[in-house]
Symmetry: C2
Subunit: 278 residues, 2 copies
């Protein structure tokens, strides 16, 4: 059992109820990573249905979670031969913290189906050893231990914000893998989809807290062992909201996940940026 498997495990506790533990060390400033808690909740939903893989998962983040005991309450909405759909909430202290709708299938059985169309292209990155990694400092506590749970190696050209520079587009890309060297599985893609810094940092918005309101991940294939590559972009920050689109590729150059989230934009003066192309 890998560290990720262990940290997302839950035990059945009666009809449609799962007892879980949100672990220490998967948080940033005390708030567990949104992709991590989504993976934890979705593992319980997989246990509720009869399919091995998430294919489309949406979470709405209602209230922050915290490390500690949690319950997942799950309802199988539709059993099925190809796709099953489950609804669930992750509850702490009697209150739902996130609500999840997930459609599940067997991506292994789908592998033999032909690729009918593919216009995707992985990001062109320097090799991982030339992409800097941020490592946890146990002395100051910053960056937090989460950066050791997932090894993120950001393309230096798209790590402008770490040098106080500003780009003309909100984009970030890099290499991703579990910090303990475990290979990626479909469930972990839900976490990797929320693991990099917000791309808006590269256009001079923030660094600041960017709370996710909703995150949807489509898992398109079971990833092959090895490094993942990911790219995240934001095209519109307006009206207090922003979207963040993500794509994740496996070591076989195959797109394995697409993600999109809607987040609350940091409030700041528009004069700081303003890459308005229309």
């Amino acid at each position: 059992m890998t560290r990720f498997d262990d940290a997302t495990a839950s035990e059945p506790e009666g009809e449609g109820r799962w007892r879980a533990e949100i672990r220490e060390g998967w948080d940033i400033g005390g708030v567990p990573n949104g992709g991590y808690v989504l993976a934890l909740a979705t593992r319980a939903l997989l246990g509720t249905a009869g399919k091995p893989d998430p294919v489309s998962v949406t979470a709405h983040y209602l209230r922050p979670t915290r490390p500690g005991p949690a319950t997942v309450e799950a309802t199988l909405l539709k059993p099925g031969r190809t796709v099953e759909t489950v609804y669930g909430t992750l509850v702490q202290d009697g209150e739902p913290r996130l609500a999840v709708l997930a459609s599940l299938a067997d991506l292994g059985a789908a592998e033999h189906l032909p690729v009918l169309h593919d216009r995707t292209r992985p990001p062109d990155l320097p090799p991982p050893e030339r992409c800097p990694r941020v490592v946890h400092d146990p002395g100051t506590g910053f960056p937090p231990p989460f950066v050791d749970r997932i090894e993120v190696r950001t393309d230096p050209a798209l790590a402008a914000f770490t040098r106080g520079e500003v780009l003309d587009r909100a984009e970030i890309a890099g290499w991703l893998r579990h910090g303990d060297g475990a290979g990626p599985d479909p469930l972990s893609l839900l976490m990797f989809a929320d693991a990099m810094a917000p791309p808006i940092f590269n256009v001079g918005i923030g660094p600041a807290w960017v709370p996710t309101l909703e995150l949807t991940v489509h898992v398109r294939r079971r990833p092959r062992p090895g490094w993942l590559r990911a790219r995240f972009t934001t095209r519109l920050v307006a009206g207090g909201f922003l979207e963040e689109d993500g794509e994740i590729w496996d070591s076989g150059d195959r797109l394995v996940a697409q993600s999109r989230q809607l987040a609350l934009a940091p409030r700041q003066d528009s004069s700081a940026t303003g890459n308005r192309s229309v």
Copy 2:
């Protein structure tokens, strides 16, 4: 009250229950349009909460709906000052047909917030009168009356499939408005996000039935009166699934909605197409 308002209305029927009627004429081959039933369900969810606009709405399509009576069962998951989240199911014949998670807000109050970043660009289309419209034929019944509910005018350059031609990319774009001339509102964008022909038709896949498994729409702004422009693209058709990304702009050249759906791909021989760039 517009025809769309009327066709998506529902009446309260006790705590968290709404009685609705899926109308005739909003279907294609007897199956009501997925965006239409999503708008109908979401109107009931708006009635359950205290916010006027949908901002992030996800539906999982469990079973086909049909014209006739329906019930929406809604639960307010989180009241809030800025955002409220509601879960609901649309039920017919005692079975949930679609499950919806929706976060709601007041997009009018957000209009004054600055545009901090904008890299969106509306499609460059010929004027509406030079984009052909498909009109319902009451004699043969095909195309179905739905094409009169929404006026879709497709860019001739991206209507290749209607002429038996094949493009190198799965893209479609055009003008959209209500068939009765009513202006667009935020709720109607949920329907418009599912109103055009699947872009894969333009790369030689289909025409065939492309059942939506899951549809997420982010409404970014209240649309201004007048025509909408929309563009839909698909980049990967593999493993029996495809994604479809949509963007909708208003008459003020503002992006008003982003959508993504995961759908079941038609099964066919890969030799027919195969625009594989990786």
